[in-house]
Amino acid sequence: MALSLREYRARIKSVESTKKITRAMELIAASRIIKAQQRAQASAPYARELTRAVSAVATFSNVDHPLTTEADDPQRAAVLIVTSDRGLAGAYSSSVLKEAERLAEKLRDEGKEIDWYVCGRKGEAYFRFRKRSIVRSWTGFSDQPSYDIASDVGHALIDAFLKEQGEERDVDEVHVVYTRFRSMLTQEPTAIRLLPLEVVEGTAAPEEGDVLPLYEFEPSAEAVLDGLLPQYVQSRIFFAMLQASASELAARQRAMKSATDNATELIKKYTRIANQARQAGITQEISEIVGGVNALADANAGSE
């Protein structure tokens, strides 16, 4: 019994307050997931309509667009990583970063250099700690991404993509790594290639048998495509951010739940040890008294 009863009691108290905090965080994350999912659902119609429109143009006009053309000899690739701003979400950020490193390795094997674009403080800190350079980073919105930020990120990536080879910061491919929200229990880090665009492939591709009508384009198919594609890119980035935020909250809820469970376990364990210590103290006191009485009795018996 290394510690006294008082010290065990203090420990129990501190674990109890930790438990209260983790429990609160768990509940907050749980309530926010619902909101995050609602936001993701609310943005679905826009993505769906946009995908329909883009596939319509792509199907009914043979227009080549800079955003859909592959570079002959890709030299550089941009990778956008969507991480969280805050920790305490278990392996959430590290698994996205791991997935990003895997992708980076693959790209390097193909002979491409990589420009990093990072969302979220955790990702930024990861790169800063390793003294690796980031082209741009955006922080402060991971649990509530707005369309404005997605459009800002989209602009930056499209600008980099549209630069000619040889220009500074030119990239020939753009990839996005984010965490896909499958369900409350599973979220998986996913890497997708954003640019050059492969149209039809998408989150809300039109269903089969959904015949696309013969469209009139105003002012022209090229102009419509010019306007549509950047928005399509932005909407996909927005989608990735929304998914990432729902995943972050789910990961946090799970991490905090296991922290709460662990705290409960710890409290139980410390309570047992504390009780043992208390009992040991009592036993010792009794045996001291009994010993003292015996010694007195012995002494008295000897003197008589």
Partner: protein
């Protein structure tokens, strides 16, 4: 779509939400080429919009007014979708905020780039809000 034979199915969608959706008899919007009115049976059309007011006449004859900033209009098989990153219904517009936005730019100064866009947006909002009155 029971009871709505011969109506347009209209969806006005912003990037993060559906602003208005329902059946309508007519949609008026301003594309980069000029105003277009869409009735039932319109040919499939995909067009770019400018910062302007969109009017949707619903089946009861009430007019829904909204302000959009850019975006698209797509018409196919009596389905009209209006997509705009930021679309707002007239009754949601904070007219005072839009006016304040407009007044922030000093008179006589030629606005360019982002400022010009902001002014145009504010003007559209004010127009939409006044039209809805």
């Amino acid at each position: 779509m029971a009871g709505s034979e011969g109506a347009l199915q209209v969806e006005l969608v912003a990037a993060d939400r559906t602003v208005w959706s329902g059946h309508a008899t007519m949609v008026i919007a301003r594309t980069v080429e000029g105003d277009v009115g869409i009735l039932r049976g319109h040919a499939p059309l995909l067009s770019l919009l400018t910062d302007a007011v969109v009017e949707i006449t619903d089946e009861e004859g009430d007019v829904v007014v909204a302000a959009v900033d850019g975006g698209f209009l797509s018409v196919a098989a009596d389905r009209v979708s209006i997509l705009s990153e930021r679309a707002v219904l007239a009754e949601e517009i904070d007219i005072d905020a839009a006016r304040a936005e407009l007044e922030r730019v000093p008179d006589g100064e030629i606005a360019e780039g982002e400022t010009e866009r902001r002014i145009r947006r504010a003007e559209v909002r004010i127009r939409a809000a006044e039209k809805a009155r």
